[in-house]
Subunit: 560 residues, 2 copies
């Protein structure tokens, strides 16, 4: 064996998840072998209430930027934003063109995003289930998986020292809408050829049994739409093309047109129809802004807003401010989705408003109008048994999901010490003898906030939370530079603070400040920082006594 | 018939829900007949993320205060805070002693709350299932109901013109822990004697079938605790005495002591044991701060924090900062509750942290460790069929729950026009011929925020939300009163705003402000309001251009 090949064989495979292990979202895993680097997925996470004002959360990919010369390509397993959304930011930061591999629909959706970000000529490289691609020392085999978006794949990664099977997001739907089954044959073949490491989707690990088939939703939609007497409005994820197909089929079968509304719903139905993933005659689908004249019982409105997003089409309808769709007594609204954790209350708010408006709202609690896109416990065990991996890393989930998935692996015979529940940034090194966590690289989050990417830190987030809880008081004190004494009365401006008697409390506050400044003046204090601290302390004490609140206090000292 | 009696008979019954119809919480209903007023329940609602900084939400009971002379008494159906929490505020505002009627445990818990608020000698009047009480022209019969707290009652209200059956919160548990069944006999009897109006708990109206029995939870707890190898920690609602009883029984059966922690858990176990509702030997129960020396496998920790509350005992354990309980690898944590809508993410966060710490967390998704306290659809139908009301008002729920309950009523034969889905403040008038909504009285919410009750309005809430999303910028400009021109450079202080390059953006902002002020100076503007508006507009425009954000802008103009 030539020395070179032997050296390559000796090189370790390094597996580094940079995201996806601390919650649902920002999925991203780095693979390194010899001088080559490969990335699988580059997703975002949507911020929750702990991140007020934040637009998006990206994984911290500074490790990739440090070793950008090694990067041979980026594989995108499917077109959901928690797998694609960081790509525009990453590609801009890489500073050199890198191939992006994905299936036809995935790249179609990615291209839309990259266009929006003004990324002109990305090196998009289409693959399909069954494709083999070599990137540096990585040999990649793509295989079909079912998920809540068409054209999803997993990837089997071969290196001279070890192999990895990365499932992407998947379920094992035995009756998929498009007839494209998860490729059991390929999984069994990879298993037989030897899988060193399985990395498998954990989102559904706490759900018992098997995930129900997408086809079951079709039957429920058919029935509801066929029996509806007035308008039907269906809200769903815009990327869930199979669901949209089933809505279209049910509508057409009931002699209704499909009226589409909501920016991403319009965009995705267009892309999916252009690429042949959504099939409906031109005459049966139209923009909701063009529905005037069509009777209510001849229309199914297909819209965004299944998560209760305040500016979405469905929320506008619920609030009575959608441009063309007004919900009327007797209309049927189907929420064909489940709330992402954290959105429950927002979804409920929309359901309540629509109900108040007289609509009959059907949701997953009242009819079979939604199934998950993620494998449940029995499917995850089947995956483990098909693949027979030497080592196992649960991915894509909160800690609770990863732990549940680890227990499932142990229950089907994977030795406990062969299961690695990792943190983002952990480096799992695999050589011919063993797998072990060898070190940690930089990991964490990058906040996108308005035009800023990565500048937002914990201080600003804490300040925002502090102000939203307790309000803010700004105090301006003018000091005569010759005497060190206050020139005139202090100004106090507050926002977000509640007073039983605003005027008297503010007068008292001013008196306190004046006393404090008089004291520092007498003591000969001229350092503005010291004066500011004195004002902050005395006023904080005052507000606590009077209001049982600790507003943020901003003292400004000017000198004249 | 004497004229007086005939007049009383002619007097209408007015039913006015002041809370409980726009969400789960702040339950309160007013009944008026002739010159007499009766209140059933006086609860709070817990604020959600739309109410940053708010401590509690009370129903607006100004209507009651306007007619305080008519008020004959307040009935409390059970000891949950969404039925009792507004009582201290209401009693203080009433300005005169009014009888408060409730069962032994309910009054025990109420008394604790009133003590905390410094209400010294409330007129508490104990009733029990089967009690009859007269208050003015109201005849009250109390009847037992099952719920997730012992000693709950509903009340049958007789007036000369009509009768009302108010269920309180209830379920129909066929194997209640304390053997105290919902009083089916009484319900049938009232039904036979004639119920004009049924007001029934809607919280569970969207749930199919029957609610499972509390006894099923006991079996699951027994098994988990008996098989645990190390410490067991159980988090539950402190008021759920039946649940606490089952935890105590399972612990004692497994040879373990019960260690209690969390303020409300300590308080409620004490009250419930004092009053005979919680039975456990003194030697088997102790404060968690006194557990040193007891081996981990001989203890069950009973704690607060089932809702993920950040300062609760369980959250402290999850964060590693509880004073005496440190979660260790192999410990079992049982979350014996379901998250109240809006708390899902907080609960998940605690589960993730405990899992990370090595605990095995059991929750309602993974084992039968919780059942609801609210009747599901079939129980609600049974209630309707037992009571056979002439009119029906669904209470206690969000719009979606009220609507679902209304559909259930229609499905068992209540005519659609006999079902009234009301809003808080609606006045339902019932006379011998009909029931109709005759008018609306003041209703809404009162925010408790620090020491302030009722002073917080929408402006302050919007300000808080605005600052938490986009931050705040305070600008101080000093103007020379003789020349109208700026004296010195403007000061800019920001909080919660993100800059890629703080210094340069703030310098630019100052330049803009200086230009704006120079312009107003040239134009001879001396009105500070006009100068402030000019600053606000130019800076708002600047921040939008540079940051795609619209922070709150507070211009302060001083004159020297």
């Amino acid at each position: 064996m030539p020395t070179e090949k032997r050296a390559a064989r000796r090189a370790r495979l390094r597996v580094i998840p940079l995201g996806g292990l601390d919650g649902i979202g920002k999925n991203m895993t780095v693979f390194e072998h010899g001088g080559d680097m490969l990335i699988v997925d580059a997703g975002i996470m949507f911020p929750d209430d702990d991140h007020p004002g934040v637009d998006l959360i990206l994984p911290d990919y500074s490790y990739v930027l440090k070793h950008v010369d090694r990067l041979r390509g980026i594989v995108i397993t499917h077109g959901h934003e928690d797998h694609t959304g960081a790509l525009p930011y990453l590609l801009k930061d890489l500073g050199r063109p890198v191939p992006v591999l994905g299936t036809r629909l995935t790249l179609g959706l990615v291209k839309g995003k990259l266009d929006e970000h003004g990324i002109k000529k990305p090196r998009l490289r289409e693959v399909r289930s069954g494709s083999h691609v070599s990137l540096g020392s990585f040999g990649l085999d793509f295989f079909a998986v079912n998920h809540s978006i068409p054209d999803g794949v997993g990837v089997f990664i071969r290196t001279p020292v070890a192999t990895v099977l990365h499932t992407g997001d998947f379920k094992l739907d035995q009756t998929p809408i498009d007839g494209r089954l998860t490729d059991y044959g390929a999984l069994a073949r990879f298993g037989k050829s030897g899988v060193t490491l399985l990395m498998s989707d954990s989102t559904g690990a706490e759900n018992k049994g098997f995930c129900r088939s997408e086809a079951e939703v079709g039957a429920a939609l058919d029935e509801i739409i066929a029996n509806a007497e007035q308008r039907v409005i269906v809200a769903s994820f815009a990327s869930h093309i199979h669901r949209l197909q089933q809505v279209c089929d049910a509508a057409v079968a009931a002699g209704r047109k499909v009226a589409v509304t909501g920016r991403s719903m319009l965009q995705n139905t267009r892309i999916a129809r252009d690429l042949g993933y959504l099939n409906i005659d031109d005459e049966d689908i139209l923009d909701a802004y063009e529905t005037s004249g069509i009777p209510a019982n001849k229309v199914v409105v297909l819209c965004t807003g299944s998560q209760g997003e305040p500016l979405s089409a469905l929320a506008r309808m619920a609030n009575g401010d959608h441009r063309t769709v007004t919900v009327e007594r007797g209309d049927t609204v189907i929420i064909s989705a489940s709330p992402v954790p954290g959105n429950e209350k927002a979804v409920s708010r929309v359901i309540n408003r629509l109900t108040k408006g007289g609509a009959h709202v059907v949701h997953r609690g009242s009819a079979d109008v939604h199934v998950s896109g993620h494998a449940a416990a029995e499917e995850l065990k089947l995956m483990l048994n098909l693949v027979q991996p030497e080592f196992f890393v649960p991915i894509h989930g909160e800690t609770r999901h990863l732990a549940a998935h680890a227990r499932l692996a142990v229950s089907v015979g994977v030795p406990e010490d062969a299961v690695f529940v990792l943190d983002n940034g952990d480096v799992l090194e695999i050589d011919e003898d063993e797998a072990r966590v060898s070190e940690r690289v930089d990991s964490g989050v990058i906040y996108v906030d308005g035009t800023s990417v990565g500048d937002l830190g914990q201080v600003v987030l804490r300040d925002r939370q502090h102000m939203s809880q307790d309000g803010i008081a700004t105090i301006v004190v003018v000091i005569d530079s010759r005497t060190g004494k206050a020139a005139g009365d202090p100004e106090v401006v507050t926002r977000g603070i509640v007073f039983a008697d605003t005027d008297s409390v503010l007068e008292e506050a001013k008196t306190r400040i004046a006393k404090t400044v008089a004291k520092t003046g007498r003591e000969g204090v001229t350092d503005h920082a010291v004066i500011r601290r004195a004002i902050r302390e005395s006023l904080s004490q005052f507000f606590w006594e009077r209001l049982r609140r600790r507003p943020m206090i901003i003292p400004i000292v000017l000198e004249v």
